[in-house]
Assembly symmetry: C2
Homo-oligomer: 247 residues x 2
């Protein structure tokens, strides 16, 4: 009988065309499925908690697999996977899960972090790991804009593929946080679910507010299917980190 | 008349064959000289405070150039250089220096940092930025070993090219520090000068002590040209960061 195994996976998004398997593209899911095939000899589907786009990083993405082979304890599977995966993908934890556990459908929420480097020069070691914005940002205005996003709303205006979500476009953002530490701005979004490019569109709107190009009222009016006012900006993928999936 | 300009430069060491110019190799000095030529049209030699090896990072390397052209203020030169350099190299500061200032000969000392990730799994975003050591290290023994390195000693036993230093092999380490924060070990070396691969050899010896493969007494006996006892280990370049050059 197959055992269900939960995997916690971290990756550097830079070299990958996102999480989800694609023909002729180098994705994290493909890398994991290839590694599992090399180890077990079987084609086993890896079910992720959700997709991440090209260039988005993960500190703790979650996934599950159904393993027929009894040869591997979760600990041995983890070690074997890390031995064949590239160092840009690591299995942080691996353990037996209940048969009804599903990485995607059991998820209660996710936490994302977005990093902005707000100073004229981006340090080389932050390259590909933060959004570089040279001009000063008004952090207080940004905090106000972010506070409007908290709570239960129709986030259709913050989705890249509006109307195409089978599960509707209403989501709850439990908490949003913005911290400044020197030139670093870190935004944290804790929500029950996120639409396609929703975090990057929320960050984009927040930054536009911080630049004075969008008003906080415009952000609040973007909820629902109402006509959008003001510019729209998708924050670059490189500043986005999937921090945790809550179950 | 040529003006002397001081540059403070940061770089991600991963893509480069070190600092110093080499035929047919991609080095930081070559990148800087190419960028200056593109901007000014002149072949101008960049004098660094010291070399860093392939893969070693710099948070603030220093260099100087002599600029004939009056077209560039230091601020404009900095902006122009950053516009043509790859994002893995950034000029952090650029200002006029006294004619007698010399990046190498005026340097009073340097500060290096070395990072070790001491846990079974290395997070992907630390790949290439820390030495991954899975097995537990005895941090107290390591601190004791490091304390032996402080002060004025003949560091010939901690140089990769013993005896080939024209300036002799006696150096002063003003301060050494080791801090543990979770799985991260950070070692900081503040000294008046460092021999070839000296920091990596000191870190290697310290780690061997932490693994119980070398005694603290062996470390202390390695000073001078006396016969070396115990194993010798060069810590990998990827964990090493040139933090600052003191003038």
């Amino acid at each position: 009988m197959a055992r269900r195994i939960k995997l916690v996976v971290a990756y550097d998004g830079a070299p990958f065309a996102g999480w989800q398997s694609q023909l002729h593209r180098n994705t994290v899911q493909d890398q994991l499925e290839d590694a599992i095939k090399r180890i077990t000899g079987s084609e086993i589907r890896v079910h992720g908690a959700g997709r991440t786009d090209t260039g988005v990083h993960a500190l703790a993405q979650c996934a599950h697999i159904d393993l027929d082979s009894q040869r591997f304890t979760p600990e041995r599977l983890q070690a074997a996977l890390n031995a064949v995966l590239p160092p840009t993908i690591r299995v942080l934890r691996c353990h037996a899960a209940a048969p009804e556990f599903h990485a995607r459908f059991s998820a209660k929420g996710k936490i994302y972090r977005y990093r902005v480097w707000n100073a004229p020069v981006l340090p080389p070691l932050e390259n590909g790991r933060a959004w570089h914005i040279s001009d000063p940002l008004n952090v207080e205005t940004m905090k106000l804009a972010l506070s409007k996003l908290e709570g239960r709303h129709d986030f259709a205006g913050f989705a890249a593929n509006r109307g195409k979500h089978t599960s509707g476009t209403v989501r709850t953002i439990r908490a949003v946080q913005l911290k400044r530490r020197g030139p670093f701005l870190t935004m944290v979004f804790d929500g029950d679910g996120f639409l396609y490019k929703m975090v990057r569109l929320m960050v984009g709107a927040t930054v536009l507010c911080g630049e004075g190009k969008l008003s906080v009222t415009d952000v609040a009016q973007r909820f629902g299917a109402a006509t959008r006012t003001g510019p729209r900006l998708v924050a670059p993928a490189c500043g986005l980190f999937l921090v945790r999936v809550r179950y």
